[in-house]
């Protein structure tokens, strides 16, 4: 069932990192590309994007369980034990239970997905994830009729996560998606970056990636997945509902009360980096706009 989403990325799964880093014209997976495909073997140039470097992706993180500074997670996340790891899957599913990481991985197909990543703080990256479609896991455990949402929870281990000592948010960190968002082929569980195991500061061993939503929706180090009927608790939404909506779709027209979302800064441009316009649904409008047809995106931000 995997590979429902096709981008015309031309590398294969084993591209070594130095090639990633040298390739200047890497294509980001995007709607434009799906529609256009390869024309006479030539990729369309308009969406050419270069992934951020390993260093950028792994040293500039928001992972408040390890501190609120951008460099705190890289410094502190080493203490997280990611093996053994298991995920409790419960709620409205046919086969609830505790699934080990290995068990989950044994039944999914790992793909490369190069996605734009847009933080609610108005910075962005392009990240070559490795992972599997969340739909494959959900289908495996059997989603029951009546389930309308998927709730996720991050590990909650104060002895390994020093940031949990500070009540920055209500711990454990929780997030949620509507079922159709969770089943969308763009939505993946990432387990790697650049073909390597995902580092702890990026959400090892398994994190959600929903590329058309602000980064905080893409919850890290998941230990629990619950299928529910009601809209689940989402940490930032609960902490400040005026500033962080449940949907939190990337939308340049709806500004955060404290800053504009119309533009963003790509990490990696140095001290004189120019701002770039932010794209509707982070550039994935063609794939996901239909999920929100008829919805007022300003009211449901």
């Amino acid at each position: 069932m995997a590979r429902r989403y096709k981008s015309n990325l031309t590398w294969d799964d084993v591209t070594p990192e130095h090639l990633y880093l040298n390739r200047r014209q890497i294509m980001a997976g995007s709607g434009a590309l799906i529609g256009a495909g390869l024309i006479g073997g030539q990729a369309r140039a308009q969406e050419a994007l270069e992934p951020n470097t390993w260093e950028e992706i792994t040293t500039y993180n928001n992972y408040y369980e390890f501190g609120t500074g951008k460099d705190d997670p890289a410094r502190n996340a080493g203490s997280l034990t990611t093996s053994p790891w298991s995920v409790e899957i419960d709620g409205l599913v046919d086969n609830p239970g505790t699934y080990s990481f290995e068990d989950i991985m044994s039944e999914v197909e790992i793909e490369e997905r190069i996605y734009r990543f847009r933080c609610v703080e108005a910075w962005s990256m392009v990240i070559p994830w490795n992972g599997f479609e969340l739909a494959d896991l959900l289908n495996r455990v059997g989603v029951q009729d009546g389930a309308r949402y998927v709730a996720f929870q991050t590990a909650n281990r104060p002895e390994e996560m020093p940031g949990l000592r500070v009540p920055v948010l209500e711990w454990p960190y929780r997030e949620g998606l509507r079922l159709d968002e969770a089943m969308h082929p763009l939505t993946i569980m990432a387990t790697g970056i650049y073909g390597r195991d995902i580092p702890n500061q990026n959400g090892a061993p398994m994190r959600l990636v929903v590329p058309w939503k602000y980064g905080f929706k893409s919850i890290k180090s998941i230990v629990r997945i619950t299928l529910t009927e009601e809209e689940p608790h989402a940490s930032w939404n609960v902490a400040n509902p005026r500033e962080y909506g449940f949907y939190s779709n990337v939308n340049p027209n709806v500004s955060h009360p404290r800053w504009s979302q119309a533009s963003e800064r790509r990490i990696g441009g140095g001290l004189f980096a120019r701002r770039e316009p932010t794209l509707m649904f982070n550039g994935y409008e063609e794939e996901v706009a239909s999920l929100y047809e008829g919805m007022d995106l300003e009211a449901n931000f």
Binding site: T59, Y60, E121, W259, S260, R265, G270, L271, R275
Partner: protein, 201 residues
């Protein structure tokens, strides 16, 4: 010699202008680090934060001058002007990084100042400090008269309060550090507004 006397005599040997040099070198060094990767992969935000925090720290040192003298006998009076001007210099640098490197667009700069309360508040703090920086010279004191000058310079109190609210407001979630700065600010201000006369029982 007591410890305080040692501190004071050491301070006396240090000409106040050394502070300007230290401040300028420090600001330049941070900028250089930003240029060369020393501030991490997002140097604009890092530089903005470093300048903002340094500005705040100098403002607090400035507020500490009087209580340090009154309560501990440590005399930083000769440095007070240099401390204040250095603080202003870092606020200015903070503002310039924000305007030129971060926001980049004149229309967006204006929009942020009027629409975003935490920026508005930071801006108000910055505006409070401008007349103080401009009058931080002997000529102004002479022209204005010491009393009027001292009165004007009380603007530093609202400036620091605005700066701490600015930071508390912009922090995401519940964060400790800006609250500590707010508490220190209020503590330093409290030393000034303590009743000087003992109350009649």
């Amino acid at each position: 010699m007591t410890a305080v006397q040692t501190v004071n005599s050491t301070l006396r040997k240090l000409p106040p202008w050394t502070l300007y040099i230290v401040g300028a070198i420090w600001a330049g060094w941070l900028f250089y680090l930003g240029l060369t990767g020393g501030l991490g992969v997002e140097p604009i935000e890092a530089l903005e934060h470093r300048y903002g925090k340094t500005a705040f720290q100098w403002l607090l040192v400035g507020l500490a001058v009087t209580p340090l003298r009154q309560h501990l006998g440590i005399n930083l009076m000769p440095f007070r002007r240099a401390i204040g001007v250095t603080a202003f210099f870092f606020v200015l640098a903070h503002f310039l990084v924000w305007a030129v490197l971060d926001v980049q667009q004149l229309s967006a700069i204006w929009a942020d100042i009027v629409e975003r309360p935490y920026v508005t508040i930071g801006m108000a703090g910055f505006l409070c400090l401008i007349p103080l920086a401009v009058t931080s010279n002997n000529l102004s004191i002479r022209k204005m008269g010491a009393a009027a000058w001292r009165k004007l310079h009380k603007l530093v109190y609202p400036a620091v309060v605005l700066a701490s609210v600015h930071w508390v407001w912009l922090a995401k979630g519940f964060q400790i550090e800006p609250l500590i700065y707010l508490a220190v600010t209020l503590g330093l201000l409290a030393t000034r507004f303590r009743p000087t006369r003992t109350r009649v029982a």
